[in-house]
Structures are given as structure tokens and as C-alpha cells.
């Protein structure tokens, strides 16, 4: 075992963890600002300059709140729920290629923690386990609203995971690889997958909204019908974990979308600039984060534009709309590549 690699991976892991938490923290601030601006308000601007310390204040508030575990709740599962939600949300970041290769002292370090050859499947596995966090938390609360929220979350995620998976199948037909590193490498320059898979991108985006429980698909925590949904009984930092996990999920899905469809850390015209490899990598990582922030803004933009779906509309859209569309997309992609590869 090479020790430098081990140390490097550990440090990089911590950096990614911190960056993820930081972005998620400031997403809560960004969300409130975007919401305010779209409603002609100003948003938080009291804590620190431009209200930049607001996430810290919110965090302190969450920690100071009284911790309540209902007597009728299942104690172990009640605590397990938010832990799973948080852990799985954080785990997904491992396979995402955050940048190219950096050379320090003649050694090459890749800005990706684990280059799994089935990277996409890993992402899917983690997202699927994320449902358990909500499901277990909702069930363990022993509250009808929490249970309703949990059931909605579970059925919604199962329905939309199908269409999401199938839109990925079409993407895999185009790229011929399941490894995220490989997929990004193929999209060098402006050769982005969105130009090959526009329909697949739309399906994936819609499903990503549903998977992260964001508006217009935020039925699991639909406050008008279900009080607070699956986290009705939660308080203090356990509630904070649930809310935070949602923002981490948003960040990670933005990263996945940017990786799969927008060329990851690839920049257009990067070869013509004639920079050294380290500079190219750093620029690429910055560009990647710009794409991610753009996607996060899109998530918020949609949330403050569209009203919430009704539950039957949600299921209709998932089963009767997106899944047939995804199958059609696979077929069209398959036929196209079958004939172009023959000739």
C-alpha cells in the first residue's frame, strides 16, 4: 500500500466533505435569498454583511432547541432515520470526478476519491438507500402524518427511479461506459452529452426533482396537507439533519447532472489556451462548480415558480408520462446507434 496515496485520499475526502457541507449550508441561505428576490423581497440581511452569517445562526438555533423523542416512538429507529438520510446523502460525493489530474512533485493525483467502473450504479444505490432514512423516520415517529409522508416519499421515489434509470440506460448506450470518470473524459471540450440526449436530460432532471423531494414534487413534506410530512415529530438537530440532507442531495444531484450531461469539469476551448496541466485542472474544477451552482439555482428557480403537484398527478406523470417517454428514448437511441455503427 502506498502511504502517500492513502494520506492524499484521506485529506481529499475531508475537503470534499467540508465543501459539501459548506455548499449545503449556503444553499439554505441561497434558497431564502432566491425565494425573497423572486417575491420582490430582500431576504435575510441582518446576520453579518448581506446576512451571510444566517446559516450559522440557523445552525446554532437548531442545536439549542429542545430534543424531543415522542414516548410512543420507536427510539432506536427514530434516531436511525435522520442518520441514514444524512450519511447516504454525503456518501454519493465519493464517485463524482471533481476535477482532472493534479501533478505535485512528479506524482499524479486524481481529483476523484474512487473511480468505480460502475459509478452510476453506485449513485443510484445510495439514492435508493436514502429513501430508507425518510421511510424509517416517518414510520418510527408513530404519527399518521409522518407515516403518510413516508409512504408518499417511498412510492414517489420508486416510481421516479424507474424513469431515471431508463434515461441513464440511454445515456450509457451513447457513452458505452458506466464509470463517471470515463463519461466525463468523453465529453472533452464542448462535446457534452446534453446535445446527444436532450430528451434523456429532461427526464433525468424531472426525476432528480422528484428524488430530492423538491418542489413541485415535495409531497412527502407537503405542509398544507401533512403538517410537516415525515419530519412532523422531529425537533432540534435531528430535524436539522433531515433538512440539511435535502440540501446535500440537491448539491449532489446537481453535481451528477453536471457530470452526466454538462461535461463535468470540461471547459470549452481549454486546449487553445495553452495552460499547464495543473492550471487546466483547477480551472476545470472551478468551471464544474459553476455548473453545479447554476444547477442549484435552477432547482430553486423551479421551486419558486411552480406550484405543488397533486398526488395523482404526480403518479400519472411518473408512470404514464415519463416511463413511456424514457422507453421511447432508449429505443430511439438504440436504433440510431445500431444503424450508425453498422455503416
Amino acid at each position: 500500500m502506498d502511504w502517500t496515496i492513502l494520506i492524499y485520499k484521506t485529506i481529499f475526502l475531508f475537503i470534499i466533505l467540508l465543501v459539501t457541507l459548506l455548499v449545503a449550508m449556503y444553499s439554505t441561505y441561497g434558497e431564502r435569498k432566491v425565494a425573497a428576490f423572486m417575491q420582490d423581497r430582500r431576504g435575510p440581511n441582518r446576520a453579518g454583511p448581506f446576512g451571510l452569517l444566517q446559516p450559522l445562526a440557523d445552525g446554532v438555533k437548531m442545536f439549542m432547541k429542545e430534543e424531543i423523542i415522542p414516548l410512543s416512538a420507536n427510539r432506536a429507529l427514530f434516531i436511525l432515520g435522520p442518520s441514514i438520510a444524512m450519511t447516504t446523502a454525503l456518501l454519493t460525493g465519493v464517485v463524482i470526478p471533481w476535477g482532472g489530474i493534479i501533478t505535485i512533485g512528479g506524482r499524479e493525483f486524481s481529483l476523484q476519491i474512487a473511480d468505480l467502473n460502475i459509478g452510476i450504479l453506485y449513485v443510484f444505490a445510495m439514492v435508493s438507500i436514502g429513501v430508507y432514512g425518510i421511510m424509517i423516520g416517518g414510520w418510527a415517529s408513530n404519527n399518521k402524518y409522518a407515516l403518510y409522508g413516508a409512504i408518499r416519499a417511498a412510492s414517489q421515489m420508486i416510481s421516479y427511479e424507474l424513469a431515471m434509470g431508463m434515461s441513464i440506460v440511454a445515456l450509457v448506450i451513447t457513452t458505452g461506459s458506466l464509470s463517471l470518470h470515463e463519461i466525463v473524459a468523453q465529453q472533452h471540450g464542448m462535446n457534452w452529452n446534453i446535445f446527444y440526449q436532450p430528451l434523456g436530460f429532461l427526464i433525468f432532471l424531472t426525476c432528480a426533482f422528484a428524488e430530492t423531494n423538491r418542489a413541485p414534487f415535495d409531497l412527502p413534506e407537503c405542509e398544507t396537507e401533512l403538517v410537516g410530512g415525515y419530519h412532523t415529530e422531529y425537533s432540534s438537530m435531528k430535524l436539522g439533519f433531515y433538512l440539511f440532507a435535502e440540501y446535500i442531495n440537491m448539491f449532489i444531484s446537481s453535481a451528477v447532472i453536471a457530470t452526466l450531461y454538462f461535461g463535468g469539469y470540461n471547459m470549452p476551448f481549454i486546449d487553445q489556451l495553452g495552460l499547464s496541466q495543473n492550471a487546466v485542472t483547477l480551472l476545470g474544477t472551478m468551471f464544474f462548480f459553476m455548473k453545479i451552482l447554476g444547477m442549484i439555482f435552477l432547482f430553486m428557480w423551479i421551486r419558486w415558480t411552480l406550484p405543488r403537484f397533486r398526488y395523482d398527478q404526480l403518479m400519472n406523470l411518473g408512470w404514464k408520462g415519463l416511463i413511456p417517454l424514457a422507453i421511447f428514448n432508449i429505443l430511439a437511441t438504440g436504433i440510431f446507434y445500431y444503424f450508425t455503427e453498422l455503416s
Binding site: V34, F37, M38, Q39, D40, R41, R42, N45, L202, W301, I302, W304, T305, L306
Partner: protein, 191 residues
């Protein structure tokens, strides 16, 4: 029947076209609207730092004026209390003692003069009723309190300070036309 607004639409249940069915054009249209609002001017004012400009003749907290020599103008006639539709004003009159000529302008003055700021509706009728040009509404806001008692303002708050520097300016409301109106004997309260 005449329509109340020009925005009413006749409801129809016609089949949606393909473009309407896939929702995307409508979603994009909505997103453009929200984006326009994103960059539009905000309606909110950063209150404690920035204050909204009042009208020149804003009707806020009352002031009991002194004359140029620093004597209280109020003669406790009670016309303001009678005029007050909210019955917010109470007063107790007293006779001026010899040697108090530098304090009170008239032979009778208000020993107690109270306005209940929770009852007051800031209509300005007291000001109209006053024959002595003693009470005016100003552009000051009545401060908020945790209890009801402090809202009953006595003479300690209402009478303007003696110091000529700290006098409260009511020139916006005490214009020449207002003064002429008060002096005009045709009006009932000046007879």
C-alpha cells in the same frame, strides 16, 4: 350586467393541445416571469437604517405648543376633547395663580392633559377644534410599548420643550390658510 374587471375569462373544458399537454412552454413562461421579478426593484425598505418619507402633513403624535415666550398656549377649554371622535382626550383645568404668568398664556390652563394613544385615531379633529392653536399633530411616530399604561401620554410627553432649539416644527400643518380659517369668526367654534 357590466363586468367588474376586464380580466375575467370564460371557462372551457376543451382538449389541451400537444404543446399544452407537455407543460414545458408554460413552465418556461412562468420561469421567465419569476426571473423578471428576480431582477426587479424590491418593495421592501431596510427599515431602521432607511425610513420611508412621510407626507409633509402626516398626522402622528400630538404636540402641545408653547408661544414665543415659552408659555403654554392651551387654556383647557375642552373643545378638543369634545371634538375627539374616539374620546381619547381628557383634561383637568386649573386657574393660573399670580406669578405664573410666564408659564401659562391664559388665566386658565390644563393641570392634567392626557391623550390615550391606543384610542386616538389620528384624525386631526382636535387640531381643527383648537381655538388657541395649542395642539397639533406632528410627523413623529408613537413608540411601541409592552404594556397599555405607557400609551396614556401626559403633559410631560405632549408639551413641547422650553428650549427654543428643541421646539417642534409644525409649520407644515400650521400654514397661513389654516390660521386664517381659525381666525374666521364665521365658523362656529370661533364665535
Amino acid at each position: 350586467m357590466e363586468k367588474l374587471t376586464n380580466r375575467s375569462r370564460v371557462v372551457s373544458d376543451k382538449k389541451m393541445t400537444f404543446l399544452e399537454k407537455i407543460y414545458l412552454p408554460a413552465i418556461v413562461k412562468g420561469m421567465i416571469i419569476t426571473l423578471k421579478h428576480f431582477f426587479s426593484k424590491k418593495a421592501t425598505i431596510n427599515y431602521p437604517e432607511q425610513k420611508r418619507e412621510f407626507s409633509k402633513v402626516y398626522r402622528g403624535q400630538h404636540v402641545l405648543k408653547r408661544d414665543d415666550l415659552g408659555r403654554e398656549r392651551c387654556t383647557a377649554c375642552g373643545l378638543c376633547a369634545v371634538a375627539c371622535p374616539a374620546e381619547a382626550i381628557t383634561m383637568i383645568a386649573a386657574e393660573r395663580k399670580p406669578g405664573e404668568e410666564n408659564l401659562y398664556r391664559e388665566e386658565k390652563y390644563a393641570a392634567v392633559y392626557e391623550i390615550n394613544m391606543l384610542r386616538c385615531i389620528y384624525c386631526g379633529d382636535c387640531e381643527d377644534a383648537c381655538p388657541k392653536e395649542a395642539i397639533f399633530l406632528t410627523d413623529r411616530i408613537v413608540a411601541s410599548q409592552y404594556h397599555r399604561e405607557p400609551f396614556v401620554y401626559g403633559k410631560d410627553i405632549l408639551v413641547e420643550p422650553l428650549d427654543p432649539e428643541k421646539r417642534i416644527d409644525v409649520s407644515a400643518r400650521q400654514t397661513e390658510s389654516v390660521r386664517n380659517f381659525k381666525l374666521n369668526k364665521r365658523f362656529a367654534h370661533n364665535k
